[in-house]
């Protein structure tokens, strides 16, 4: 799956008074490029309004770009949309997208028929998928969709995306609002589908923990442009080398933090921890050297150090850093 310099503007008319209207142009995408290889899960991250859903819609042939090019298995998503549609499975929302008066199975029969599947093949596939996503064990097979919980709806949506066994999946926030067991089930399925079945998956989420767990690579977009991309580890390494050292003490000797500041240490957030310990944080670019400085100073002041923790940057730090910066590294 390739996207090159995708751009899209939305023009909306807002009525001002009785006869006048005001035209508003929103630049949703300003040249987004990304690539998803076979068997790879790529996370598409970004704040609200960054252009994630617009990108997914273009790739799933539901929106025409103003410029740029996107293809799936070599088929242009604009010129060869009908071919692309045979190759993709999409999950755009969790809470709706099915007919409420049909059961889960009937809904899948409906969409399978729309996807051109033969009856026998379809029934076998539906049985397999309902089992795979765990709807059989939840008793959701012959229950009306309108009676489904959010978790069951998400599972059914994933089953639909997999109905025709497509090599490419486009999943837009597939675990949004789900309870932990359902979210975990979806995550593990996505991982399995990529590693065992070699599916290419584009996955958007706001949950950084989830993205780190599921995705091989991450593309971070902000204000319609790619702000950063790489594996989670690569992205973390792009952060300025600032680490936070948390120091936990039994009691805080008078003048200790002032002494540390005199020695050039950047001390922050001095307070009492929940377990009765005193804690303060030190920001540094040289964590190993600074830890020994802290220990020497604390011992000289008679402090009793309980533990010292060096915090590694998280994907959330990466997200915040790049979205605040807003420029590609």
């Amino acid at each position: 799956m390739i996207a090159e310099k995708l751009a899209k503007k939305f023009v909306t008319k807002k009525r001002v008074g009785l006869l006048r209207s005001h035209v508003e142009i929103v630049e949703a995408l300003r040249g987004v490029s990304l690539r998803v290889r076979t068997g790879e899960v790529v996370g598409l991250l970004g704040p609200n309004g960054a252009g994630k859903t617009t990108t997914i819609k273009i790739l799933s042939t539901l929106l025409l770009p103003d410029s740029g090019y996107a293809s799936i298995y070599g088929y242009d998503v604009v010129r060869e949309a009908s071919e692309v549609r045979k190759l993709i499975g999409i999950m755009l929302t969790v809470e709706k997208g099915f007919y409420g008066r049909l059961t889960g199975r009937e809904n899948l029969i409906y969409f399978g028929s729309l996807y051109g599947m033969e009856k026998q093949e379809l029934e076998k596939r539906i049985d397999y998928l309902l089992d795979l996503v765990g709807l059989k064990e939840l008793g959701g097979v012959d229950r009306l969709y309108e009676e489904y919980s959010l978790g069951m709806r998400a599972r059914l949506a994933l089953a639909r995306a997999l109905l025709k066994d497509p090599p490419v999946l486009l999943l837009d926030e597939p675990t949004l609002g789900l309870d932990p067991p359902s979210a975990r089930r979806i995550r593990s399925l996505v991982r399995e589908l990529a590693s065992r079945e070699g599916k290419s998956i584009l996955y958007t989420s706001h949950n950084m923990f989830e993205v780190e767990l599921v995705c091989d690579r991450v593309v971070l977009i902000n204000k319609g442009v790619v702000a950063a991309e790489g594996t989670p580890e690569e992205l973390k390494s792009k952060l300025p080398d600032v680490r936070t050292i948390e120091v936990y003490l039994k009691q805080l000797p008078e003048g200790l933090t002032e002494e540390m500041r005199k020695h050039g240490l950047e001390v922050r957030e001095q307070n009492q921890a929940q377990d009765g310990l005193y804690v303060f944080k030190v920001l540094t670019r040289r964590p190993n050297e600074v830890v020994s400085d802290i220990m020497k100073l604390a011992v000289s002041k008679g402090a009793d150090i309980v533990r010292i923790k060096i915090e590694e940057p998280t994907l959330e730090d990466v997200f915040v850093y790049f979205t605040e910066r807003g420029v590609k590294d």
Partner: protein, 288 residues
């Protein structure tokens, strides 16, 4: 600058339309949708079966309060209960099918199904043509419930033949209405957005013009010419002529030929509006 990719080629009717199997699959899908919903809602079944009776009864009460049944028979040539029952049945059969087509884009969009329909490999036109097919079988059931008893009461054994003829012509009315209904419905959505109010305005106008409650041959010339533009109006005229015993061969074949010809004439409009509607959706982005 215009996007070089924006060509209409991918939105034109593909060869797949002519493939019976892909059409059969779509009909299967629509059967699942219509029947599952229909048989799970007892109130819907009751309403469906009772509607022609209620509507005909209301018209009869209104008619008897302002005029004489004898005058109606002299002028129209059919007993009022039979005429109005047939009219109500025709109206309901055509209306459910037209509604299915016209409301579907709005319903699919509000239920979040539309992105999955559009992103399926199925052609939009083929999909819209398949939507009313399951209703035809329901029309037959409704014909048995609404038409058969009253036709037998008034026409004896011939009533059975009359009922079969009316059911067959009601299905034909709906079929020939599909291109125009699709073109008008999608055309409205293209120009005015997905607006159910516009459909609510258009629907009764179309159905009144078909002449189900008023014999077409008694219409004033301007109204007759206007209603002649609607393909089902010609089928309705044939039904009324059959009931009135005015069914000479040329008075049946000519209107039926006209209905089919008009339907064919409107088909390019249906294809064009379908393509334009899909193009508009894709340009704005299909709502999720």
């Amino acid at each position: 600058m215009k996007n070089p990719h924006l060509k209409m080629s991918s939105f034109t009717l593909p060869r797949e339309v002519l493939k019976i199997r892909s059409f059969a699959r779509l009909i299967r899908a629509e059967m699942v949708l219509v029947y599952a919903d229909f048989f799970r809602r007892k109130s819907l079944v009751i309403m469906y079966l009772a509607w022609p009776y209620i509507s005909a009864a209301f018209m009869l009460m209104f008619g008897y309060s302002i005029g004489s049944p004898q005058f109606f028979v002299e002028r129209v040539g059919v007993e009022p209960p039979l005429f109005l029952m047939v009219g109500s049945y025709l109206l309901f059969s055509i209306m459910t099918i037209v509604d299915d087509i016209m409301w579907r884009p709005i319903f699919d969009e509000s239920s979040g199904v539309l992105p999955y329909v559009i992103s399926s490999p199925t052609n939009v036109v083929l999909h819209y043509v398949s939507i009313p097919v399951p209703r035809f079988t329901l029309s037959i059931a409704l014909g048995a419930a609404a038409l058969l008893p009253i036709s037998i009461v008034y026409r004896g054994f011939n009533g059975l033949l009359v009922s079969l003829t009316v059911v067959a012509l009601s299905i034909l009315s709906a079929v020939v209405f599909i291109p125009l209904a699709t073109a008008l419905g999608l055309g409205l959505y293209i120009t005015g957005g997905e607006n159910w109010r516009a459909i609510n305005f258009l629907r009764p106008l179309l159905l009144t013009m078909t002449g189900v409650y008023y014999p077409r041959w008694l219409m004033s010339l301007p109204l007759y010419l206007l209603s002649s533009l609607l393909p089902p109006a010609h089928c309705v005229e044939v039904v009324q002529r059959v009931l009135a015993g005015m069914a000479e061969l040329h008075k049946i074949t000519v209107p039926l030929a006209l209905a089919i010809a008009l339907s064919i004439l409107y088909s390019p409009g249906m294809l064009k509006t379908s393509a334009m509607w899909e193009f508009k959706k894709l340009r704005e982005g299909v709502k999720v």
